[in-house]
């Protein structure tokens, strides 16, 4: 049995159907979740994180039912780490204080062991030296890492990360990738992001979600392969390209459509494949230059 199994999961907000008959299961390793804004990614993550309930469908988390009894939900939450897309912080709390607060909620009741664990996760995200600084005085990227630290408490078996790299500079993103790659060997990570580079760097598997439905579910290499022969470098923008933009070399990167005269086929990236997978929706994801 996989750590996370979803079958026919549906969730609506009023008349808007955020998720429609989503089937998804994953186990240890990093599963990337890609999709445009409004695709239903955050809704899916919040369901897996037990933050909200699905309207219909079957869900199993670590073999338990998150719609079951209070004890059942609590048992799941003991093994769960969740980094929400947006997280506020009490203005009076330090980084250490905030993570300790969540640690208490995660039942780290022994003070000495709790402090060791809080220091461990803060070191893991590179905030050991800033532990006593108020969260309100940290930069956006540092705050994001505080949020990640609380999600990592206790080495959860399921780790749900919603846009973890938002606000991080390239070196911080590299650090985060290194951290996640270590963690992924021990738990099932569901990583939602707009950054296809993160997915390419971290995930062995990717799920593309659009309009509340799964458009693709498979290996990253398989998604990239779907774009083979459909991406070109050209001196002219593609007349009917899905998207094309002028690169730093002065040539145009053309994705989809028919190749412009003199175009040379090039190796597609995960982003190209993702844009092609979305089709017309891609224009809202990647505006042409």
């Amino acid at each position: 049995m996989n750590a996370v199994e979803l079958s026919g999961v549906t969730k609506a907000y009023g008349r808007t159907r955020a998720l429609d008959q989503v089937d998804l299961s994953f186990d240890r390793g990093v599963t990337g979740l890609l999709g445009p804004n409004g695709a239903g990614k955050t809704t899916l993550l919040r369901i897996v994180a037990t933050s909200i309930a699905a309207d219909a469908g079957e869900i199993s988390l670590l073999g338990r039912n998150p719609h079951g009894s209070h004890a059942e939900v609590t048992a799941i939450r003991r093994q769960l780490g969740y980094l929400p897309q947006e997280l506020g912080y009490p203005s009076d709390m330090t980084a250490f204080g905030f993570v300790e607060y969540v640690a208490v909620l995660k039942e780290w009741n022994d003070r000495r062991r709790r402090h060791v664990e809080v220091r461990r996760v803060l070191d893991l995200v590179g905030l050991g030296d800033l532990a006593t600084k108020r969260v309100a005085k940290l930069s956006g990227g540092q705050r994001r890492r505080v949020a990640l630290a609380q999600a990592l408490l206790g080495d959860p078996q399921i780790l749900v990360l919603d846009e973890p790299t938002t606000g991080l500079d390239p070196s911080q993103r590299a650090d985060l990738r290194r951290t996640l790659s270590v963690i992924a060997g021990q738990c099932a990570v569901l990583l939602s992001t707009h950054q296809t580079e993160d997915v390419a760097a971290l995930c062995e598997r990717v799920v593309v979600l659009a309009d509340g439905t799964v458009r693709f579910d498979g290996a990253v290499a398989d998604l990239v392969a779907t774009a083979a022969g459909r991406v070109w470098l050209s001196d002219e923008p593609g007349p009917d390209a899905l998207v094309s933009w002028r690169t730093g070399t002065g040539r145009h990167h053309v994705v989809g459509g028919t190749p412009p005269p003199g175009a040379a086929a090039t190796e597609p990236t995960l982003e190209d494949a993702y844009l092609l997978m979305l089709g017309a929706d891609a224009r809202s994801v990647r505006s042409p230059a």
Binding site: R78, P84, L87, K106, W108, N109, R120, A151, G154, Q186
Partner: protein, 298 residues
């Protein structure tokens, strides 16, 4: 792999969480200002009053109730709301909102302790300087009445302010809610009791959460001890405190058990019984002291 925590009872972790919330309250600037002001005013009363004895001891608990109780209301409302900023993360931890609320409720022992310390200092001052023989105080009224008044209108009022803050933080969501509740509680306590206090139905004033039992020294040097039973009034305000705590916990849907519902109803019933007994037993009428010569206005 790190080892995972082990304590799995429903209220596990309450102690550490309450300790965190108590520390946060003790460091909250609004609360600290209130505590400092309360003791500064008490110090001014002691050191600037050139009378030979301490006057109006039974009225003095209004100071901690005002400065510590009301600032606790604001501080606890803000603390309660502040962690809701991180609700997406904390709501998916095993610790429930009910547990977080209970921890905040326990943290209200901090203002209770501050109020108790204030009353202790007041008693020391009264012992050192003495009180006028005619003063409504120990010796001129039963000890249980004095203790009940001092505790109900001092430390319990301070704690009640904090609990009302928790209740406000959980249930009242608009910006500035704590300030509105603060003004409302002051208005209710004054408008709901003062017009009744000197009349024939003085005991009806006791429905408010902070009711006077002592008039302070009048211009003719007398003091009035208002009607009613202070011990049952203490029971009544303790029930108000318990009701505030339980209704704040009730905000968590997962905590809405039959037990909690029964507890709320029981507290309300006991509170109403205490109020009825406070109004119908104890001192039947207002009692006026002999004039205190040193306190007669020129």
């Amino acid at each position: 792999m790190t080892s995972s925590p082990v304590s799995h009872t429903r209220m596990a972790g309450l102690g550490p969480m309450a300790a965190i919330e108590a520390r946060r309250l003790a460091r909250h600037p609004v609360f600290l200002v209130g505590v400092v002001l309360a003791f500064v005013v008490l110090g001014l009363i002691y050191f600037l009053d050139d009378r030979a004895v301490l006057g109006d001891g039974m009225s003095i608990p209004v100071i901690p109730a005002f400065f510590i109780g009301l600032t606790s209301l604001v501080a606890m409302a803000r603390l309660t709301r502040s962690t809701e900023a991180a609700v997406e993360a904390v709501a998916t931890a095993p610790g429930t909102e009910a547990r977080r609320t209970t921890a905040l409720v326990v943290a209200c022992l901090v203002p209770f302790a501050a109020g108790a310390a204030f009353i202790a200092v007041l008693l020391v001052m009264a012992t050192v300087r003495g009180v006028a023989p005619q003063e409504w105080w120990f010796g001129t009224m039963p000890d249980w009445q004095v203790w009940s008044i001092l505790v109900a209108l001092g430390p319990v009022a301070c704690m009640g302010g904090g609990l009302l803050g928790v209740l406000t933080g959980r249930w009242v969501r608009f910006p500035g809610a704590a300030a509105v509740i603060l003004v409302a509680v002051v208005l209710i306590s004054r408008v709901g009791s003062e017009p009744l206090a000197h009349g024939d139905l003085s005991e009806l004033r006791l429905w408010v959460p902070w009711a006077m039992f002592h008039s302070g020294t009048m211009t003719d040097g007398t003091q009035v001890l208002f009607a009613g039973n202070p011990a049952f009034y203490l029971g009544y305000v303790l029930c108000l405190c318990a009701a505030a705590a339980l209704v704040a916990i009730w905000h968590d849907r997962t905590a809405r058990t039959a037990q909690l519902r029964t507890a709320i109803v029981a507290v309300i019933v006991v509170g109403l019984a205490c109020l009825a007994l406070a109004m119908t037993t104890g001192n039947e009428d207002n009692l006026t002291s002999d004039p205190i010569p040193s306190q007669i206005s020129e």
